[in-house]
Assembly symmetry: C3
């Protein structure tokens, strides 16, 4: 069966029960989202789109400091784009649009940093719980001169309202779990000492409900809150358009010189530093 | 006049002034919503739809522990469905859709438990204030294998956002007033010692405004935030479809054996226990 | 250039950098919004609609007690309406609709009272920061028998949700910065001792980003959260319709007898007193 044959390279998949799966990201040193992880996620989604048993999937990280750092900015984008795309959309859009439509309940359990595409991943799951002390969220793409390519500008307003969506995307700063909860960016910040218990208890409870009622609840809330899928390729095109410009490439190069995609100060403080290292004036 | 001739069986109706009415639910032992209360509510709504004087209606409970426990699961559904339905919708949908359209301002003053259809009732009023210490809200229908039939999945996202709407409906758990306020499920949690004064002061103030401006404010906010009424029969059909299945009936029977619809532990802790008494595994 | 030739009468305009402008309202004694301020704002907007350099505009007040008190109720409305209106809408609607469409990021830095049209102004900017101790917001128009004419009923639901929008507009009461933050009426309440530093740091950071990404972010969030502009003339017509009625004029006269538009108790406490001085019963 799938659980026996699926060998993801950049996350572990465990099944505490046939009804509840746990995906734990593991792509050292900082859990960037590159072609290999995207390939793993696409394979997982293909299974979730037909699996009639699993009701709940938790997404978490084996790295306590990094949930998902951001898109892999060192990889050749053509690699991810060469993977099959059932929606016909760009690789990251294909993953997130399909994620938002699976029949299982998807829960992000955020410890560590979820920035850029990592933040977009959690925004595309059904709900987000975060460690009060250890979670950091942010969309720092503005500092790279690019609209977030995975649709943060489409998903944030339905969670945090118009004014706070502007603040998050235009500021590009890091948000603590406490502030993210006040804004609605996450459902709830839970003290780290209770976090694992809380998430497991909630997810286990949900996993045992009747499959049909889960499908009904997801159907109606999706009906009233999801944008048309066709919006998301527009964001992706804007991102890749910006990424092709010399300004983006210059910022990117400079950040790699400072240690981007290693366990460096720049990765820990990217929300702050993207605005202080490269001022326009 | 109406106030002299209307003799509701399951709530009291008082008029501190011609501009302000108070409806206080009273259907011992736990204030379930059955055919008689629905009949009373329909009669009240018919009056509110033509009354040109009353500006504000407070909904509260004479029972400090139970605002409205949930739909009456012991009654024959045919009784409520046999009542007149001006909208043509199922009984509970007819009540809630009409409630959301009356010209008077409707205020829920929640002390005690408002679960299931009781929570849906307060969601269909214009605003919700709750006792910080004594109010509990929840939609535990998921534990009965059923989508909430009165439209919680339609009304919650406009209040709490997509992620928290999923959490509330998929978890089926109880929410304290404090957490309900943080999520936007209620407007505000007010310390119980000040609750009665707060609600009366607010409602009295609103009741004295010009009738035309109240109508205008309600018109425009409704225009921008209400779903089409035609969504709600879909939820009701999903609920009654589930209620006809053996799983629902089995859960229901077991809950009645544990004391459902009496002043029992199961009624006090239904949000928790619906998930622990009947696990699928 | 514009900065050299523009001589606004009721605010100061400074440019800490070509990328960041600060508008500080100054129309003693309480910063009402009258024909002269509207004229200044229209001229500023005309510049912002073509200026290709400035990225961020902060709106603040030179008066620590009054951000913008409300519309000027002593002026002849014909004066403002005689000004050019590129949208063709009434004067205040023209200002706010254009404000919500400029390409620069607009930030309200609220110290003191922002009521009525003053609150509507901040609602039409992209985001709102407020001094925790010194800011007060409210829409007290209901107490004048009028729907807010600048579209508060259109902009509040996207920020605070349906239930809280009703409470704010139907109650007409003052909101502290702390409560306004809990409701989402403002982005964040910041302790006054840190307020100036916080706002300047955020606005400066944003001002330095690439102009194209700011335009993209604003484009998509506007696409998903703005109502059609054509809604707003409806609110304005409702306001002016009410303002022509004897009830409005009587309330207005009585308030001026109590010191409206002077540094009087009535201006400091208008949210409270509009409901206690003129009870209907």
């Amino acid at each position: 069966m799938f659980l026996d044959t699926f060998k993801p390279k950049q996350f572990t998949l465990t099944a505490p029960s046939p009804l509840l799966w746990r995906v734990a990201f593991s792509n050292p040193p900082v859990n960037v989202i590159g072609p290999s992880m995207i390939s793993d996620l696409k394979e997982l989604l293909t299974e979730l789109e037909t699996n009639q048993t699993v009701n709940t999937v938790i997404f978490e990280s084996l790295d306590p400091d990094f949930f998902l750092a951001h898109y892999d900015l060192a990889a050749d984008p053509a690699e991810a784009e060469a993977l099959p795309s059932p929606t016909g959309y760009a690789a990251w859009v294909d993953v997130l649009v399909r994620l938002s439509h699976v029949s299982a309940v998807t829960i992000s359990a955020i410890r560590g940093i979820a920035r850029g595409a990592g933040s977009e991943f959690v925004l595309a799951t059904d709900m987000r719980f975060a460690s009060l002390e250890k979670a950091i969220l942010g969309q720092m793409e503005v500092g790279f001169t690019a609209l977030p390519g995975g649709g943060a500008a489409g998903r944030l307003p339905a969670l945090v309202g118009r004014g706070r969506a502007f603040e998050i995307l235009l500021g590009g700063e890091d948000f603590s779990a406490e502030l993210a909860e006040r804004y609605g960016y996450i459902n709830r910040a839970v003290p780290d000492s209770d976090f694992e218990r809380f998430v497991t208890a909630y997810a286990t409870r949900v996993s045992k409900w009747d499959r049909r009622v889960i499908r009904d609840i997801k159907h109606y809330i999706n009906k009233y809150t999801l944008l048309p899928d066709s919006e998301y390729p527009l964001h992706s095109d804007a991102f890749w358009g910006a990424a092709a410009r010399p300004e983006f490439q210059s910022i990117n190069s400079q950040l790699f010189e400072h240690g981007l995609q290693t366990r460096s100060d720049i990765e820990y403080n990217l929300g702050r530093d993207v605005g202080t290292i490269f001022p326009k004036l």
